[in-house]
Symmetry: C2
Subunit: 527 residues, 2 copies
């Protein structure tokens, strides 16, 4: 048996590290010194990534308090390094430098963004924010449980006030809300988002209405009247993820209450899913979603390890990769044709007599509902659009907190034709605002739009795409994403990356077209 | 679905941390400042503890290289903090201080020990050592594979030379080897160990010889002729560990190639075992061993979190807790009587007709063998004694490296009556020396002696001990250990802790007596 503390081994690691630091170095120029500091920050994050993964997936319950201390320690170590004035000095010198190449320029630009975001908020303000958010999550939780918005009302009002203040510290050109959007996707603004959501509102909302009025619901009895074993779901998840190209030598699949993709680095990418015995789609499509995130992480440019230019490019592009596999591929008829034999292998009784067409219709059940996280791919973006419009109005002052709950319900009625019977199913459903995450929601929709735009572009290069999906050959599409998206890291701004990869700036067109075609094929409805 | 990076959450943690640091502090006195610094070091270790656990248990294979970077980073962060000259200054002031209580004195003493150990070795020397150990593990691995000592010979010679140098840096009173022993158990020395091993040599070696000559082997056919399902072994491991009192709300059981007990802190103690379908004892007794380590960690004095006085007390005492449950309890007839129904429940066919007495005899198979890690509880200490004597001679210069392999074989023949047919089964079997861990082995035997001594003392307070074990009531014994050992942390030196708990200084007597009684009961042999 090994002993509990392995002092020999630990000693060894100490020594190796000291050894690495010793050899006489040539004097570093500014760029090298910046890279060294960024590597240090990246390592802190990797360590934090593992601690967080473990916390979500398998930490024993009593460990929570001390894990919070460890995470706070990691966070503090990261913060101290990120706000080191030496980084500011290095950046100033490098920003005046000519002759930096594309990657070097990206690193300097991204390091500047992080440095500014970390240093522009005064410590007292960050403290106030942290205190308030802790309090706010608690009042939100209670309000949702008791179905009483008034419990959360004051804290939300304060959150909005603080979000405005945050925007003022961060700075913006036109709208305060732009500063908040930029926190989650670099360069994002209302002027860029408005046309995208406009396109969705004009085209998708009527489509949903038409489907809704038609009132045709696919036969879901074969799904709902059966029990689905976890074993079978796990096997399906695993096989599909492998077929897509997720490398399980450099990652893991686990179960967790809240599915996510995390882990410390591209060699160690860990995604989770959850299993329900009454719904076999949640685990499979969740797995495809997280596999999409995971392949992006695994495909990062490895010559840029520890550099900001080598990281995945913002939340919108990340979500495009998850949505691509989950929806654009996973909910296609061709994918259902390919996966049907696997379904039948793992659930022979449940799947007896079910055709690929039936499977396809069932995974594409299009139905307006109240809850965002349960929405189908058409209505989902309307959920986001509503939140976006509300956030804009709240930050600008055009909507008072007291008017919010009814405004929420009215907008759901207007755009989705459903009205929440209570606040918990309405305005209180999402945690984001209680955590101070205002400006986050739109990245979800960006992901959907990007994914459609990317697939449309990929199709031009892959004329046999449908046939390949039908045969379970996902390599060509993954390789296309590797080249055009994954390996480009964060060298370009997200919008520029999309334009480089697809030939056009971000636009809702491809997504609308995709949805129209799908609805036509599914329901015979033409836009 | 959650996104890949949860920026909202991470931001929150940042803020909470900053918040914690902000409130105006009263000026710290030296003791408080020392405690704050030690807490910081403890947190680094906790983080390292989780990274190491994950590496052993579930990290995907390609993640190895970057995990090494993360561990090196953690190690460096720990080293920088541990060797901060400010700690030296604080210690100097505090060592002159009167009016410290027992715990405070222990903290100062232990902090001094760590500080000295971390600072006494010059960086260049640590570098040389690290380089050499890395090289040495490789040559040892090759030598063992090829069964050729000459491949390892030069590196081992150098390791001994470096170990001597290390001892000189650390300082010692009488023997160089004492400085090395002290690294793994504070205060340990040849003058303390010699009488212990003498007692074992004089009493245990003849006992083994007598059993051996008798040539009676218990009937192992029911074990060897069956296949043992992992499922059944897992259930047994879990139930026994729970019965002993391991808290699975504050810990985990997993599988790993090399069983160990680790994890970051007393709220998160993680032990592992391994399963073999031809041997059901390895997993159960391994689980009891690691459960022993685990209950010690979970029982630490929680009012001393993050303080050296609140940690487990050295490798010998730690091993006493694992050996207690594995051997003293686990291989008792009473335990076999209690566990037999569980065995039958999980392996009804294999166990059909097997009696508690048969089970007891089988788990106590006493048989001299070549390999330490497979040895029974009687011969085990002879394996350690041989290594101890050899280390002493090598460090003092009384044994040349070229004479080592034959000396090894001769000693095995003399004390165990077996001779290795080749070097891999002889002198090359253990990794320790290749890692530079000279002085480590004796703590294994200390654990065995302490465990017997502790149980003998506990029996005086627990007159119904045997009956309690027979009924699976392990609470009274665990509580005794909690009070006398676990909750005392590292407040006393290990030897003083044993004396406080048992009334006598460390001695081989209880162990010898225990073994004599057992052999008499098993084989009818009286010493």
């Amino acid at each position: 048996m090994n002993s509990v503390s392995w002092p020999g081994v630990l000693l060894n690691i100490d020594m190796i590290q000291v050894m690495r630091r010793l050899p006489p170095r040539i004097p570093m120029d500014e760029y090298e010194e910046l890279m060294e500091r960024l590597k240090d920050i990246a390592l802190v994050r990797q360590v934090g990534g593992l601690l967080s993964w473990d916390q979500e997936v398998l930490m024993p319950p009593k460990a929570a308090a001390l894990r919070a201390e460890q995470l706070a320690w990691v966070s503090k170590e990261g913060h101290v390094r990120q706000t080191d004035p030496k980084i500011g000095e290095l950046l100033e010198k490098l920003e005046g430098e000519r002759g930096l190449d594309e990657v070097q320029m990206a690193n300097v630009r991204l390091a500047r963004e992080s440095y500014d975001k970390a240093t522009k908020l005064p410590t007292e303000f960050v403290t106030e924010l942290a205190k308030h958010n802790s309090k706010s999550v608690i009042s939100w939780t209670e309000a949702r449980e008791k179905n009483d918005f008034s419990i959360f009302r004051d804290d939300l009002a304060k959150s909005i006030e603080l979000a405005r203040k945050k925007a003022d510290y961060l700075g913006y050109e036109t709208l305060r809300y732009d500063a908040l959007l930029d926190l989650y996707e670099s360069g994002l603004s209302v002027s860029r988002l408005d046309p995208l959501f406009q396109g969705l509102r004009d085209n998708v909302a009527p489509l949903i209405k038409a489907v809704n009025e038609r009132g045709e619901r696919p036969d879901m009895s074969w799904v709902e009247n059966n029990r689905w074993s976890q074993e079978g779901q796990e096997a399906l998840s695993q096989r599909v993820s492998e077929a897509i190209g997720f490398d399980f030598e450099a990652g893991r699949r686990d179960a967790s209450t809240h599915p996510f993709c995390g882990g410390p680095n591209p060699d160690d990418v860990r995604w989770t899913t959850r299993y329900s015995e009454i719904d076999p789609f949640g685990s499979l499509y969740g797995s495809m979603h997280e596999t999409g995130h995971g392949t992006y992480e695994q495909g990062r440019p490895r010559n840029l390890d520890f550099q900001p230019a080598g990281t995945a490019n913002g939340l919108g592009v990340h979500e495009s990769q998850s949505r691509l596999w989950e929806n654009q591929i996973g909910r296609s008829l061709e994918f259902c044709e390919w996966s049907l034999p696997m379904w039948k292998e793992h659930f022979p009784e449940n799947m007896s007599g079910v055709t690929a067409e039936q499977l396809w219709k069932s995974v594409n059940l299009l139905e307006p509902s109240l809850i965002r996280v349960e929405a189908d791919e058409a209505t989902y973006n309307i959920h986001i659009m509503i939140r976006y419009e509300i956030e804009k109005m709240m930050i600008s002052g055009d909507l008072e907190v007291d008017d919010l709950p009814d405004k929420w319900d009215d907008m759901y009625e207007e755009y989705l034709g459903v009205r929440a019977p209570n606040r918990s199913l309405g305005v209180l459903q999402d945690i984001h605002w209680s955590m101070g995450a205002i400006g986050y929601f739109p990245t979800y929709t960006l992901g959907n739009l990007y994914s459609a735009q990317l697939l449309a572009a990929a199709r031009r290069d892959l004329p046999d795409h449908d046939e390949q999906v039908r045969n379970g050959e996902f390599g060509p599409l993954l390789e296309w994403m590797r080249t055009r998206v994954h390996r480009r890291g964060s060298i370009l701004e997200p919008a520029d990356l999309i334009e480089e990869a697809t030939g056009t700036p971000p636009s809702p067109e491809a997504f609308v077209e995709y949805l129209e075609k799908k609805v036509e094929r599914l329901y015979g409805i033409t836009a």
